[in-house]
Amino acid sequence: MAYEQVKVETPLILRVLPVASLLCFFAVWQGVVDFGIVPNSMLASPTQVAALFWEKLFVAEPDGATLLVHAYISIIEALTGFLLALAVGIPLGLLMGWFVLAEGLARPIFEMIRPIPPVAWIPLTIFWYGIGIPGKVFIIWLSGIVPCVINSYVGVRMTSPTLIQMARTYGATDWDIFKKICIPSALPMVFGAMTIAQAYCWTTLVGAEYLAADQGLGYLITMGRRLALPPMVLLGMICVGLTGVAIGVVIERIEKKLLAGIRR
């Protein structure tokens, strides 16, 4: 028999080292604060952060909302901006990739907007929408649109020319080819865009919340600084990170499900 199943193990030390490394990291962190090497006004120890985490699950003071409410608001904002960015960016990118009309009209504007970091729009947004949710969603939308357009555009441009020529020999119109060949062909790139856009949106969210918010995880971090509460700052940061990862995992699962049949 040419093929057979066999078990191979990773050496023990390679499985222990990561765990040991993490434990060391937390121990050093805790020790640095406990022994006063870094003053408690600047850094909070892991135990303090954990304690605050537990407390914030139930208590709204001193920043005005419990942890879950903050997280909820942040997620809703990010999700809204993200979905709107998908809704506008993907069709736009797809059309731009195929129809010269779309590209000609949209591209100059897109290329002008593109180099501007989304955060730079914050002051303008405050002028237009004031401090509140619509402004934040607008900035998140802006940051999510860029990867969506680019990826969809590239996805369409990378359609196999052979398929297109084949369709033309059947007498397909431009629209037919677009609908039936370009779009399905571009799907893997489009889904790649979803992951990237989600990461961008989440990153921008924190920035948007910094300058213009009264709730949300980014706001939590800011309040922590204003109230000189390092545990709150760190708690906010960690929650932002964790939630970002969680959302990323969800999007990835969805992407895998939807792309299950298509292999590229």
């Binding site: 490394s21 949209a106 970091p117 914050i122 964790l242």
Partner: protein, 286 residues
């Protein structure tokens, strides 16, 4: 005898024979001409901009294009908070360069080391994975707590922001090297050191460079964020000033100049890559 004029939606790889004969000037052909459409687009854009300002739909929140141009011009000659436009630009660029240099000096060797040595990887990766998901902006409050509102906190943010992509790209650059290239060196009589120096570094160089490009755009976002929060100089500062003085022309001026420099630095890095890695053939994204 008529021949068809193609030149429709041409896909990058599709070679189409463009056969044109002398047709009368037609609207349809014009609509398919890219440059015409670009011009139309830009005209519409600026026209819309002017119109929005004219009708005061957004109230005082927007300034017409001419005013922005004037603002930029004035910035070059006058000063805002003690610096001219060039001074502010240099302030921002300076922070980016310093932060970027420090971050890449640590991240690139570390990434390469992690890719080459399993033990280093096992120790560093878990900590890196902890830090990776936290957006640079989230660190701003932390940075201000630790370093105050001066230069160090801004540079710190840039370091945090550029560190992750640099390391990731250096790591992937080494990991994705075709294993047979190592075989070549070994067959020619090279040892492990030769493998790393003769194959590892040069082969990973394009990927490392790609990481640098990504880091650069992130660096601009970081420096901007840091300046929006607390600064006395820099392009972000100009934008914030505009906001505080309720001068949308200043805000837009800052944004335009920022966009220009972000674009220019990206262009410089792209050309640098073409010069240093002439063998790299990649599909460029837009």
């Amino acid at each position: 005898m008529t021949t068809a004029a193609t030149g429709t939606s041409s896909i990058a790889n599709e070679i189409q024979l463009e056969v044109r004969d002398r047709k009368p000037f037609s609207l349809k052909a014009l609509l398919k001409n890219r440059w015409f459409l670009y011009t139309v687009s830009l005209t519409l854009f600026f026209g819309l901009w002017k119109y929005v300002d004219y009708t005061r739909v957004l109230g005082n929140g927007i300034a017409p294009p001419e005013k922005v141009v004037v603002a930029i011009w004035r910035l070059m000659t006058d000063t805002v908070a003690g610096k001219s436009l060039w001074g502010h630009t240099w302030a921002s660029l300076n922070r980016i360069l310093i932060g970027f240099a420090i971050a890449s000096a640590i991240a690139v060797p570390l990434g390469i080391l992690m890719a080459l040595n399993r033990y280093v990887n096992a120790v560093v990766k878990p900590i890196f994975d902890l830090i990776k998901p936290m957006p640079p902006f989230a660190w701003i409050s932390c940075a201000i707590l630790w370093f105050g509102i001066g230069e160090p906190s801004k540079i710190f943010i840039i370091i945090i922001g550029t560190f992750v992509p640099c390391l990731l790209n250096a790591y992937m650059g080494i990991r994705l090297i075709e294993p047979q290239l190592y075989d070549v060196i070994r067959m020619l009589g090279g040892n492990r050191r030769d493998e790393i120096l003769q194959v590892g570094f040069p082969a990973a160089f394009p990927a490392i460079f790609a990481g640098l490009q990504i880091s650069l755009s992130i660096a601009w976002t970081c420096v901007l964020s840091a300046e929006l929060v607390s600064a006395r100089s820099g392009l972000g500062f100009i934008i914030i000033q505009g906001m505080q003085l309720a001068r949308p022309d200043l805000v837009l001026a800052g944004m335009v100049v920022l966009a220009f420099w972000a674009w220019a630095t990206t262009l410089i890095v792209t050309y640098l890559e073409k010069y240093l890695c002439p063998w790299k053939r990649e599909t460029s994204l837009a």
